[in-house]
C-alpha cells in the first residue's frame, strides 16, 4: 500500500462522497455515479483516477460497461497501522493504571 496516495485520495470531500456512494451501491458505472451526485463526467473521472491509483476503487470491465467497486483493503491497512496500534497502547495504559490503583502485582 502506498499510504501517501491513500491519505491524499481521502483528503477530498468529493472523493469521500464517491466512496460513500459505492459503499451504498457497489459496482456502479461512471454515468450512474455522475447522475447520483450531479457531477460532470470529466470531474468524476479525475477523482476516480486518484481513487484507483490509491487502490481504493477497482474498475472492472463487464461487457461494454466499466463498473467501479470500492476496495476497502487499504483502509483496513490504515486502520491497523494508524488506529488500532494506538488504541492498544491506550488500553495497555488503562490496564497499568488499574493494576497500580488496585495494587495488583500482575
Amino acid at each position: 500500500m502506498d499510504a501517501d496516495k491513500v491519505f491524499k485520495a481521502l483528503s477530498d470531500s468529493t472523493r469521500r462522497m464517491l466512496l460513500d456512494r459505492l459503499y451504498e451501491q457497489n459496482g456502479q458505472t461512471l454515468g450512474q455515479l455522475c447522475q447520483d451526485v450531479g457531477m460532470a463526467r470529466q470531474s468524476a473521472t479525475q477523482h476516480l483516477e486518484i481513487l484507483e491509483a490509491a487502490n481504493l476503487v477497482t474498475a472492472v470491465r463487464r461487457g461494454r460497461e466499466k463498473l467501479h467497486f470500492i476496495n476497502p483493503v487499504p483502509l483496513h491497512e490504515v486502520y491497523e497501522r494508524w488506529v488500532q496500534k494506538f488504541e492498544r497502547r491506550r488500553l495497555g495504559l488503562l490496564l497499568d493504571l488499574k493494576n497500580e490503583l488496585e495494587g495488583d502485582p500482575k
Binding site: N26, N55, P72, H76, E80, Q84
Partner: protein, 154 residues
C-alpha cells in the same frame, strides 16, 4: 436469476510470489495462521471444499464446490454457509486472481452472486478486507493481524 445480487471486488498488492499467495489460500497449515480457518479440499474441479475453524472443535463454517483451478493464477469456488448447504440458492461465488504486477503480486478477490442485503453479503463485506490485510501482513512480515479483533465501540 431471481435473486437480487450484489458483488464485491477486493484488490491487494503483496510482496510475494504467485505460488506463495496461491498456497496461502489453498494449504490449510498456512491459511490457519493468518485466517484462523483452513480451506480444506483436494482442489480438483468438482470437488467439495470446506472452510474449517482452526480450533479444537474444527467447526465447518462454509462449504462449496471447486469450480476452476489454475495454479498459481486462478481459483474459482462456490461459497455458502454450512447450515444452508442444501439450498442451491444460498451459494455465492468467489474468484481469486493472482497476477504478477511489477515486483509484487496483485491479488483480486471477486465475490459475486451474493444475495443483496443478506447476512452473508454483510458478513463478507466486513470480513474480506481483514482477511486480505492479514494475508498480506503474514506473507510480507511473517506476522498476521488478529482477524478476530473487532473495532472497539467509541
Amino acid at each position: 436469476m431471481t435473486k437480487q445480487t450484489t458483488s464485491f471486488v477486493y484488490v491487494t498488492y503483496i510482496l510475494a510470489s504467485p505460488e506463495k499467495v496461491f498456497e496461502a489460500i489453498t494449504r490449510p497449515e498456512i491459511a490457519r495462521r493468518y485466517w484462523g480457518h483452513e480451506n480444506v479440499s483436494d482442489w480438483n474441479p468438482g470437488s467439495k471444499w470446506e472452510h474449517v475453524r482452526a480450533n479444537d472443535q474444527r467447526t465447518v463454517e462454509l462449504v462449496g464446490e471447486v469450480v476452476e483451478v489454475v495454479p498459481p493464477t486462478r481459483l474459482v469456488i462456490t461459497w455458502a454457509n454450512a447450515s444452508q448447504a442444501i439450498d442451491p440458492a444460498s451459494y455465492s461465488r468467489v474468484t481469486f486472481e493472482i497476477e504478477e504486477y511489477e515486483a509484487t503480486v496483485k491479488l483480486t478477490v471477486t465475490h459475486d452472486e451474493l444475495e443483496a442485503g443478506s447476512n452473508m453479503a454483510k458478513g463478507v463485506g466486513k470480513g474480506w478486507p481483514i482477511v486480505l490485510s492479514s494475508l498480506k501482513s503474514f506473507l510480507e512480515t511473517g506476522r498476521p493481524i488478529d482477524v478476530s479483533s473487532k473495532p472497539k465501540a467509541a
